[in-house]
């Protein structure tokens, strides 16, 4: 039986309709799931009371998989089939991944995202991440006593479109409905800001296992506005481990170690890093597979020296973010530290020196992102009263552009634009009678296409034949609140909607995802028709519930005839929902949307008017 939680005043839900929502911090090294229960965000523990799930997946030869601590322990004995830090490969080609030579995997390089050959066949990093998400979903559903209506998954702020899309695909494979992809530093700012009633401009310094983000936010009266963000999607605590690992190899004079020894030394390096947070020195005693003994001592100062360049490397994005926000370090009210790696004393010192103030450490750097994500998930699921809500205004971290003549980039959406954003650019044909045009979408700040990240190529077809230069093709980039791009195109003089065929450079195609869904353990033996039916029924319920709430709140915007029309539409959809034809339900939902479109538009206008009503121009609250 489902046990009850205490709701916010007036926010009790109907039985069996609890809007269970969680936040997931899908980390490079560890992952967490958190939820708001009884008004408080908490990380949900597993049966042994552990909240952190090591982001490690092991593929067994018998077809089963193991995720978390058990898999982590096997990484020295079965390195090839035990995938750690899969987040580093999300939306990446093999050439983009650092330290490939030190990794024990059997990579399959190809034109798109890198893949790994395991005893269970070739796995995409998306599938590995989906395993981690699935384990967290099962844990959350057991802890909350029901199905999740949605999740907020955090991503590094500096993740590009391909990496974000890969994360969303992983969620889909894990059977999760993503309410929002939320930037990790923003999630941390929400948790910190709400807990401390913070106001002013803050910096969030987020050094994760494999990524570094620096975001600058302005917190004012319930609005979290990201002013700028910068980072390095391939710099993290792992790199500090790697420096230690290399240094141990040098000192112990080890020739290329075996796969197993390499993994054991890497694990040792991580332990040493953690030990040096509290101790002045750390000893390493380890017998290798060959029988050779490694016996060295690393001091805190030596560690700081060998990682100085890494610490310095984090300060470049800090400077850039400040410049983009038009601020100096002195104007920052506080620096929130996020990620276990920020416990390293050399990091704390460098940040304190740069900002001229001690960083804020009154929160758990491992948990703050998951907790913030849970708070946001609770709001997005509709579990809080509107007047208690807060508003997040986030930005796109990297500019989006199109390739132009000579391999140059023409920027279309500038970095640090507040989301959602749409931008259009016009192009023309250069040949008489030209009916198609090719485009190349890239992301990044550099001038040359070769130095930016290729996101997708697409082709416009169906341009009416005209003389060269007569066609006016408007290409529109729309970036949504998740930071994900969609592209549309139209020939303006004829009004022809040209079709866009997008080929993601590093993503998965819809067909590949469908194939993975079909072959996934989660859905084996699952009747696809039944599944489609359930999905449409859930959406129909959502539509009906939303309509009923809208009628209760804004029914006065309708006259009697209109009201009767909508009531009839609700009744019709309810009838269809009870049936078993998923196609009929889907077209019923579409018909319902058309029938209520005018009402929805009127409600939106009304709420916008009321947003400004009673506030004459010169009286707007400051």
């Amino acid at each position: 039986m489902a046990l009850l939680q205490i709701a916010e005043p007036g926010m009790s839900t109907e039985p069996h309709k609890h809007r269970l929502a969680v936040g997931i911090d899908l980390g490079t090294t560890n992952s967490l799931v958190a939820s708001v229960r009884n008004g408080i965000a908490v990380c949900l523990p597993d049966e042994s009371g552990r909240t952190m799930l090591p982001s490690v997946v092991r593929y067994h030869v018998d077809g089963s998989t193991e995720t978390g601590l058990g898999a982590l322990k096997a990484q020295a004995t079965d390195p090839r089939n035990t995938i750690v830090s899969a987040k580093r490969f999300m939306g990446r080609g093999l050439k983009d991944v650092a330290h490939v030579e030190a990794m024990p995997y059997d990579f399959e390089d190809g034109p798109g995202m890198v893949r790994l050959r395991t005893v269970q066949g070739v796995k995409s990093p998306v599938e590995v991440s989906a395993e981690i998400l699935r384990v967290l979903r099962v844990r959350a559903e057991a802890s909350l006593g029901g199905r999740l209506v949605g999740v907020v998954i955090t991503v590094p702020a500096y993740f590009d479109d391909a990496q974000r899309q890969a994360t969303k695909d992983a969620a889909r494979l894990a059977g999760l409905d993503v309410l929002r992809l939320l930037n990790e530093p923003t999630a941390a700012a929400v948790a910190y800001g709400l807990d401390n009633a913070a106001e002013g401009v803050y910096a969030v310094y987020d050094l994760g296992g494999g990524t570094f983000d620096l975001s600058i936010l302005k917190l004012s009266r319930g609005v979290f506005e990201v002013l700028s963000t910068n980072g390095d999607a391939a710099l993290g605590g792992d790199d500090f481990d790697h420096r230690l690992f290399c240094s141990i190899l040098e000192r112990a004079d080890i020739d290329p170690p075996s796969l197993e020894d390499a993994r054991r030394l890497q694990m040792k390096a991580r332990e040493v890093k953690e030990l040096l947070t509290s101790c002045e020195e750390a000893p390493i005693h380890l017998r290798l597979g060959s029988g050779e003994l490694v016996d060295v001592v690393v001091t805190r100062n030596e560690f700081a020296d060998m990682t100085r360049h890494l610490v310095q490397k984090t300060l470049t994005p800090v400077r850039k973010a400040l410049r983009d926000a038009g601020l100096t370090p002195e104007e920052i009210k506080g620096v929130v530290m996020v990620g276990g790696a920020t416990r390293m004393p050399q990091i704390q010192r460098a940040v304190a020196a740069f900002f001229g103030q001690e960083p804020l450490t009154n929160l758990d750097p491992d948990k703050v992102v998951a907790l913030g994500a849970a708070m946001q998930a609770n709001v997005l699921a509709g579990n809080r009263a509107e007047q208690d809500d807060w508003l997040l205004l986030d930005v796109i971290p990297l500019s989006l552009g199109l390739e132009t003549m000579g391999g140059l980039v023409e920027k279309v959406v500038p970095r640090n634009s507040t989301l959602p954003i749409a931008r259009a650019q016009e192009f023309t044909t250069f040949k008489d009678g030209q009916t198609a045009m090719a485009f190349h979408v890239v992301q990044g700040e550099r001038e040359l296409v070769a130095d930016c990240r290729s996101l997708a190529r697409f082709e416009l077809r169906g341009i009416p034949p005209m003389v060269a230069g007569a066609a006016r093709i408007r290409v529109t980039f729309q970036v949504d609140a998740d930071g994900l791009l969609s592209v549309s195109a139209r020939e303006m003089s004829s009004g022809v909607e040209a079709s866009v065929l997008v080929k993601p450079s590093y993503g998965l195609s819809d067909d590949e995802i469908a194939e993975m869904l079909k072959s996934g353990v989660e859905h084996a033996g699952d009747d696809m028709v039944l599944r489609a039916l359930r999905e449409q029924q859930v959406e129909a319920e959502r539509v009906i519930e939303a309509a009923e709430q809208a009628l209760a709140k804004d029914g006065h915007l309708l006259d009697a005839d209109e009201r009767a029309g909508i009531d009839a539409a609700v009744a019709r959809l309810r009838e269809l929902r009870a049936g078993s034809d998923h196609r009929a339900i889907k077209s019923g939902i579409d018909a319902f949307a058309r029938a209520t479109d005018e009402f929805a538009a009127r409600r939106m206008d009304n709420s916008i008017r009321s947003a400004l009503a009673g506030h004459k121009v010169d009286e707007l609250e400051l």
Binding site: P15, H16, G39
Partner: protein, 107 residues
């Protein structure tokens, strides 16, 4: 008669209110709906209404509206753990039968 909290429930409620940072107590209520006719309501209380009845149980203010009290008289709210799941449970002597989930009931 009144509506009470078990010791464990009271301890958890106090803790939640302290962490939430505000709140007068908790509201227990009943509304008509659900698969067996009635459903429980469990909410934080920031403002009470004139007609509300307020009980004190282990130092926690328990607020009930008079209409709900008819169905809740003698109820004890308990806090229990079942596997990974944990939460509140109504032990209500007025209930004749309830749906499998225990979230809605009949009197």
């Amino acid at each position: 008669m009144s509506v009470t909290l078990s010791e464990s429930a009271a301890r958890h409620v106090s803790n939640f209110i302290a962490k939430r940072g505000k709140g007068f107590g908790i509201r227990l209520g009943v509304k008509t709906s659900g698969c067996s006719g009635m459903a429980y309501k469990l909410e934080f209380v920031d403002d009470t209404h004139d007609e509300d009845l307020v009980f004190d149980s282990h130092g926690v203010k328990v607020v009930v509206d008079p209409k709900s009290l008819v169905y809740l008289e003698g109820t004890e709210l308990d806090f229990v753990k079942e596997g990974l799941n944990e939460g509140f449970k109504f032990n209500n002597p007025n209930v004749k039968d309830q749906c499998g989930c225990g979230e809605s009931f009949n009197v």
